[in-house]
């Protein structure tokens, strides 16, 4: 039995990708389809009765902000919030004592390994976007609903932190499909996370920021696009865009300050 096959492949991808998103806040209507699609795709359990908005798990969470004008000129905007996939000095990766968080150089995705996590929740403190969630309880599915779990994503037990990983199960499936066709590279559009696919308003654009021809890279460079809490210097890969200046100003505040109804 040979230990080295005839064809060695030492590079897993021709060029590392940096997956990111551009979310158009002027299109988002706060319907929550992205939240629901995310929870279905990633086997997020229904809440216990004891769960509160702070202890629930919402990998994708839509916040509502308002322009602060008095009645009847109050206008609302909705901001879908998910793990921003920080690209530089990733705070959660830096503090984890278990090395359960890793910024993958090949895709730019910040991997969270619930199986390595010991549940100290230091990363939750470190995350400036409150995008990490703790499993306070074992998942409990109403009878029959456990049959609807997604086999591409492993359910987590209690005591571990979890967060958005850009639907890694879909990345695996897309790569496997490409591999079955003999391809190593993914075509644009072959891999989209659940929230991107579900949004009825097509508000989320997803792709490889390293690919200058991709729509997401083009939109990210646009003047109307900005990132939340950019001043922290974590280089998040989620861009938001809006033509409304009040939305831009409100999004520049921290989540504590913005209206969380």
């Amino acid at each position: 039995m040979s230990t080295t096959p005839t064809e060695t492949t030492t590079k897993s991808a021709a060029r590392p990708a940096r997956y990111g998103m551009v979310i158009d806040l002027d299109r988002c209507t706060g319907c929550g389809a992205c939240m629901v699609a995310c929870a279905v795709e990633n086997n997020v359990p229904p809440a216990r009765p004891e769960a509160t908005p702070r202890t629930g798990i919402t990998w994708m969470r839509v916040y509502k902000i308002s322009n602060g004008a008095p009645f009847p000129d109050t206008r609302a905007a909705f901001i879908p919030m998910l793990c921003q996939q920080c690209g530089k000095d990733t705070p959660c990766a830096a503090v984890c004592p278990q090395e359960a968080v890793q910024a993958d150089p090949a895709t730019g995705i910040v991997d969270q390994m619930p199986q390595r996590c010991l549940g100290c929740r230091y990363c939750m403190t470190a995350c400036p976007y409150h995008a990490r969630y703790f499993n306070w309880w074992d998942p409990q599915w109403p009878p029959g609903l456990e049959k609807t779990l997604n086999p591409d994503v492993a359910p987590r037990m209690r005591g571990v932190v979890e967060k958005c990983n850009f639907c890694h199960g879909r990345l695996h499936a897309a790569r496997a499909r490409a591999a079955a066709e003999g391809r190593r590279e993914l075509e644009p559009g072959e891999y989209v996370p659940a929230c991107v696919e579900a949004c009825p308003a097509r508000a989320i654009v997803f792709g490889d920021l390293n690919d200058p021809a991709s729509e997401v890279a083009r939109l990210a460079r646009d003047a109307q696009s900005f990132r939340i809490l950019e001043k922290l210097g974590t280089e998040p890969k989620i861009y938001y865009r809006t033509a409304r200046s009040w939305v831009r100003q409100a999004a520049a505040q921290t989540e504590k300050e913005s209206a969380h109804a």
Partner: protein, 587 residues
């Protein structure tokens, strides 16, 4: 040599030291950790080959196409069908978890008579006897949540054989009568209470056209549509007509108040424009705007099932009432229904998947299958400018003892056909008429019906997931869209000085996942929340977040107060309530 205690200790010490150099302690630690991660409490996802199956969503009249990703035969996630003419490849939040509904609580599992299991024959016999015993001025009514289906045809055929019968439907089931909306060419919408951005037509279609629409929302509640519209015109319930008249005057060059003039300006600058809503004044607005029969406006289509709004049925006249409740959507208001029943011995049969809603008050409950459990149909997609039809094939195994509502009525009519036979007949009729084309979900291709070889081929194509759309009618300007009744105004009294209105009603039945996400994110207010303007709240002695009691002529209930400076002063917004005068005081 004797084996002393010292020897034993040395032996043990040596074993311990030696053990450390074996895999034993490390393996035990490691394996115990692994064992603790795989407690039986953690569910195992289903195993099975990944397959894709197609169906149509029947939770609301939008009729979106659904692509189901299945592990083996079990759907594990749903998504839209790219290229679908009505839904544009999108599903709403409720549609994305439609496959959870079958497992929600409060399922009716077997026929019940006042809570006790019965054979379905008993219910059939009771209904037949009650119909025979109807007096000269008593009616038999059937409430159909989705008129326009082949099932609706079954209902009408049955009812037409009775001396005094009425086919009822929700007032907003076919708001524009035999018209669809040419949204792709519309440039402005003046909406009187229609939730344009939050459950009107299919979200994929509306939002695909949002960028070229100016939206003016006229309603009392600060709904999600109102908060996202270009302009929100708050009016008290009943004030819609006056505002519509004012806009009509402004459109014709007459004087009007500032808000009406601004609205008229927007409509004139962004043509074609339409007005959505109920009342004669809105119909007049549409006539002035010239929106009927014109591109960008209301275009006529072939189908229409004339059904009666149950609110217009005379009070105290219904002797036998059959209520079909769907898997999704708003349940019928029992307060309204009760008024219409005869005072002595009415018979109410609920044909419903759920035990709550009208089933709580029904004499008989005939359990119906939930969305995805049995072959169903979707009528013309809401707002479509061409008549349409699609099948909703089952994706889940149906538990026994369920009866599709149409089959109950077929058995009442002593018709031995099954619901599937009725649907096959409908498809055969479509093939025979030879008009229109079908869009098949799996390959996103459109085929003219005339090119399909046989009715059996068409049936097979529709079972695989497809939607049939008729050819468009040539426009005709002599048709008028049906008018919804205008919302009633609310009489304020000193005892009830505030207006209670509904706000962003959540669906009656939802996947526990969806409810949890809305609750945790705060995106939808809890069912017992009462939202008031801070001035109104403080004027009534309330504090933000306090418990309060809301009283109205129809009763009292407890709420959690939420202050929101965006809502109209003088108004209390609570989900699921009909507009009425009310008062609120601290609990």
């Amino acid at each position: 040599m004797g084996f002393t205690r010292r020897d034993l200790l040395k032996f043990s010490g040596g074993s311990a030291a030696g053990l450390v150099f074996t895999p034993v302690p490390w393996s035990l630690l490691h394996d115990t950790a692994l064992w603790s991660e795989n407690w039986p409490g953690i569910p195992q996802p289903p195993q099975g080959e990944v397959r894709t199956r197609y169906t149509t969503c029947t939770l609301c009249p939008a009729g979106c196409g659904v692509r189901a990703r299945c592990a083996g035969d079990q759907p594990v996630s749903l998504s839209g069908v790219p290229g679908h003419p009505a839904s544009r490849g999108a599903l709403c939040a409720a549609g994305l978890v439609g496959h959870h509904l079958a497992f929600c609580r409060d399922r009716a599992r077997e026929p019940l008579a006042h809570g006790h299991p019965v054979a379905i024959e008993r219910a059939l016999a009771a209904v037949t006897a009650a119909i025979a015993a109807c007096g000269p001025r008593e009616t038999v009514a059937l409430f159909d949540p989705r008129p326009g289906r082949a099932a609706s045809f079954v209902y009408r055929r049955f009812l037409s054989g009775l001396p005094n019968a009425v086919h009822c439907a929700p007032a907003d089931a076919q708001p524009c009568g035999p018209f669809g909306v040419d949204l792709e060419n519309t440039r402005a919408i003046l909406s009187f209470g229609t939730p344009v951005l939050d459950g009107w037509l299919s979200p994929g279609r509306v939002l695909a056209n949002r960028s070229h629409l100016r939206l003016i929302q006229v309603e009392a509640a600060y709904s999600r549509t109102a908060s996202l519209a270009d302009v929100w015109v708050p009016v008290v319930p009943g004030g819609e007509d006056a505002f519509a008249e004012a806009v009509a005057r402004a459109l014709q060059g007459g004087g009007a108040d500032e808000r009406a003039a601004e609205a008229a300006r927007l409509l004139l600058q962004n043509k074609p424009a339409i007005a959505l809503g109920g009342g004669a004044a809105v119909a007049k607005l549409n006539a002035i705007l010239g929106s009927v029969g014109q591109p960008g406006g209301f275009l006529p289509r072939r189908d229409f099932t004339p059904a009666t709004d149950i609110a217009t049925v005379p009070d105290g006249s219904i002797r036998v009432l059959l209520i079909e409740e769907g898997s999704g959507g708003r349940p019928l208001s029992w307060d309204l229904v009760q008024r219409k029943l005869v005072p002595q011995n009415p018979l109410v049969v609920a044909l419903t998947p759920w035990l709550d809603g009208c089933a709580q008050h029904a004499d008989y409950i005939i359990p119906a299958p939930v969305y995805l459990e049995s072959l169903d149909e979707a009528a013309t997609p809401a707002g479509s400018v061409a008549a349409g039809f699609s099948l909703s094939p089952a994706l889940l195994a149906s538990p026994g003892k369920l009866t599709p509502p149409a089959e109950f009525v077929l058995r009442l009519a002593q018709d031995s056909a099954s619901y599937a036979d009725v649907l096959k007949d409908r498809v055969t009729a479509i093939r025979k008429e030879g008009r229109g084309s079908i869009f098949t979900y799996a390959d996103a291709k459109s085929t003219r019906v005339a090119e399909i070889a046989s009715a059996a081929d068409l049936w097979k194509a529709m079972l695989g997931g497809a939607v049939w759309l008729d050819d468009r009618l040539p426009t005709a300007t002599n048709l008028r869209p049906g008018a919804l009744p205008a919302p009633e105004s609310v009489e304020l009294t000193p005892a009830y000085p505030l207006i209670l209105i509904a706000a962003d009603d959540p669906p009656a039945h939802a996947s526990p996942l969806m409810s949890k996400l809305y609750r945790e994110s705060g995106l939808r207010r809890p069912a017992n929340a009462a939202i008031v303007h801070p001035k109104t709240g403080r004027g009534q002695g309330l504090q933000d977040g306090c418990r309060a009691i809301v009283s109205s002529p129809s009763g009292t209930f407890t709420v959690q107060t939420i202050f929101d400076p965006a809502v109209m002063p003088g108004v209390i917004e609570v989900a699921g309530r009909t507009p009425s005068a009310a008062s609120i005081r601290r609990a």
